[in-house]
Amino acid sequence: MNRREFIRYAGLAGSGAIVIPIGLSGCAVVPAGKQTAHATDANAPLAYGTPKQRLHADGEGPPRMVVVFLRGAVDGLNVVVPHGDREYYQARPSIAVARPGQPNGAIDLTGYFGLHPALRPLLPYWESGQLAFVHASGSPDNSRSHFEAQDYMETGTPGQHNTRDGWMNRLQAYLPQENSPVQALALGESIPRILSGTQVVANMSTGRDAARPTLIDQPKVSQAFGTLYAGDDALGKAYRDGVAARKELMSELSSSEQRIANNGAPLPNGLAIDTTRLGRLMRSDTRIRLGFLAVGGWDTHTNQGNGAGQLAGRLNPLAVGLATLAQELGPAFNDTVIVVVSEFGRTFRENGNGGTDHGHGNAIWLLGGNVRGHTIYGQWPGLDKNALYEGRDLAITTDFRAVMATLAEKHLRIQDSALQKIFPQYGNGLQHVGQILV
């Protein structure tokens, strides 16, 4: 039985999700709207929104993907807010995002779900049909440890400790080889687990100074060190990869950042500095196929706030950063899918200190020129007591690997056989989230 056949049969029995087979594209975890919601009479009818009908928009290069990891477990129930559910407001007396129309209220998306008001900079993408969410998604492992759950989401093998490499690095091996030192680019001071492995990955520091020329950029200096680092060991290899990548990135950056300086426009603040740079680099160097950045500060155990407050103060620069990335990609936005993930969600009920503790299900964000947006994907499990995972957290009905595997296959055009290598344990029961791309 090949994988597709397998999906059609076995996939249907997967972990409580209602999985609908759709033609040859595998299975969709489909928004239905028709089925009965786990809702009381006072609740608004469950609604997932209707995807915008539009044609595929051509980009100008090969497909690319950027993964943004929100480390610390963002509260997905306050990102994509089930404002149509009365129990949501009962469970979160001080931290619920108010209903649409109220001060600091959610921005209504579907009549049932709404967007946190601090994410308003992303609203235009929802309206243009280029932003979607997969709600009640995540890693099926029940760990509530940040560090373990991040590891699982990065290795792509939940529950398995001994995986050394990351799924993006394994995926990279199946992209057309361009012999570029910057095919995969991580922003930050280290290579994250998700990109660790045999494929060459470049990294680049964040912040304002990352693009300033340094001593090692002088040929005389890099030559002298080149002799010391001529060895075939990990350090020698890292040195040579570093010099090669730096040369590429510096030549791109010095021209593009110079142009801005000439126009007198300063770089924006915070995260947007980095996403501006990433967007420009990806736009001008089409060999950069994979991007990664991590944003921290989501572990809101206390004083989380509601439509305003601590979480809002972090979501807003994130939204600005993502919108900036989309703009700076320019025409390459049509070639790109930006995926935002977090290791798990947070408790459904607010804790004693105006915060939330470690939970389970979350929402995955999808932003891109050809994302079939303006809809919430996934199967909403509801929030009543019996529907909650272990009686306390949003349940997971879509495995994050279903989303990633769909993007790998449909967007990055990775072969079927390779998908099982990228998500090894998952190969057998591979589900797809159907139709998430235009």
């Binding site: 940040h146 100074d209 002298a224 010391l228 004693g352 915060g355």
Partner: protein, 503 residues
Amino acid sequence: MRAAFNTAMTGLLMASLSLLCQTVSAQALTTQEQALHVLNRLAYGPRPGDVAAVEKIGIQRYLDEQLHPERIALPGDLQNRLDSLSTYHLNVSQLYGQYGPPSFPPNGASQEEKNAARRRAGDEITPQSHLARLWLATESPRQLQEVMTEFWFNHFNVFEGKDWVRYWTADYEKNAIRPNALGNFRELLGAVAHHPAMLYYLDNWLSSGVNTPGAKGRFKGLNENYAREIMELHTLGVNGGYSQADVIALARILSGWTIDIRDMKEGSDSANFTFNPRRHDNGTKQFLGHTITADGQQEGEHALDMLAQNTATAHFIATELVQYFVADQPDPALVNQLAQRFLSSNGDIKAVLHALFDSPQFWTRKNYQSQFKTPYQYVISSLRASATPVVNGKPVNGVLNQFGMPLYGWLTPEGYKFSQEAWLNPDALLRRINFANGLSNGKSPIARAENTQPSAIVDPVDPLQLMQTLAPMLSQDDVITIANSPANLQVGLILGSPAFMKR
């Protein structure tokens, strides 16, 4: 200059040539290599003259001294400088009283006043706590104590940027971590659990038993944060055999472990920790298969006893120590041996380290010069080798920040990783090389007061002396390459060499 350098180098080379006649990998370390090895692992690398000094007193005596820091005197000059740091000697109440939010609760202070207080703490307390750490790391002769202080601080990580933690980070290190760094694990765990920096950082100070009389306002309910991390990160380890139910049970057991802000405002000396019975859940708990009945604060002490004596804890701590001192991939036999020692000695850290330094795995050539330095190890060892004094701590923390490892700057409780996998990447190597070159001319901003110009008469670092300081670290090929390079790059090449990236 070049000729003299080459002649001297040839001398150094000759000394090591005889080694090459035998299979290097199978050979025991020479005394000089052993000296470098202990200086790299028990200390933050050699300073000028250190290798010879260790050779002279003998490895065993060096190990013995380092395991008993109380027998080593701090230099008077270092002690005087530490004494001159005005905030370093304030107790937690004084720190809170002088730098804390202008009022607590209910309020009364404006947002501007609060921001001003926060800025003042950042401007005054933080640079002083950084200087104290950097001075001790680079200059203290009690190097193993400093290494273990970093190790345990990281194991029980707090983040200085989380509001009030900033006031107490230095006190936490000075009074909870350092005195226990080579002591008893249960006492260390207890000192951490009672310190306001940890109570605040992992929110336990807010946690109250559900429906207890004191559970109101911001102290309204149970907070699982600390209870979870004690088991996952401080004791049992993530697969140490506890469940979500145990997390909740421990949170209930620790409910009422808090900070008394009012006492602090009044300057009480003993205000670090308070047990508030009005916020404690007196119900019976099932914790790790044991029934815990109502016993106030003693419930928590008992739970900490259970955790400190657990075999999973012994195994977890032993694994971390082997990873730190021996190899990224820990040898299971050595881990088991150390875990046994941990249990048989009731968590005597000194006894466990003694067994570690006695083990053949610690001395095997395979594990010599094999660990990729963390950014902190790299920076501190560079400053020590080049004898660069830390006059201004800010550029040191600046470079640590660039390398992704700022002092007290890891946001989340698992602390920094100590592995090649975590730190070796292309960009990091290039940044280290840039930093190393900046130390060569003696004009580094680290070595002079803030906002002063470098002195015109300052001596550049002497490459020959640097090479002698680090002998026998470099291979003959490295020495030849360096000797044939432009003079102004030689120090950078030594400190930026692959050999100096390792320890």
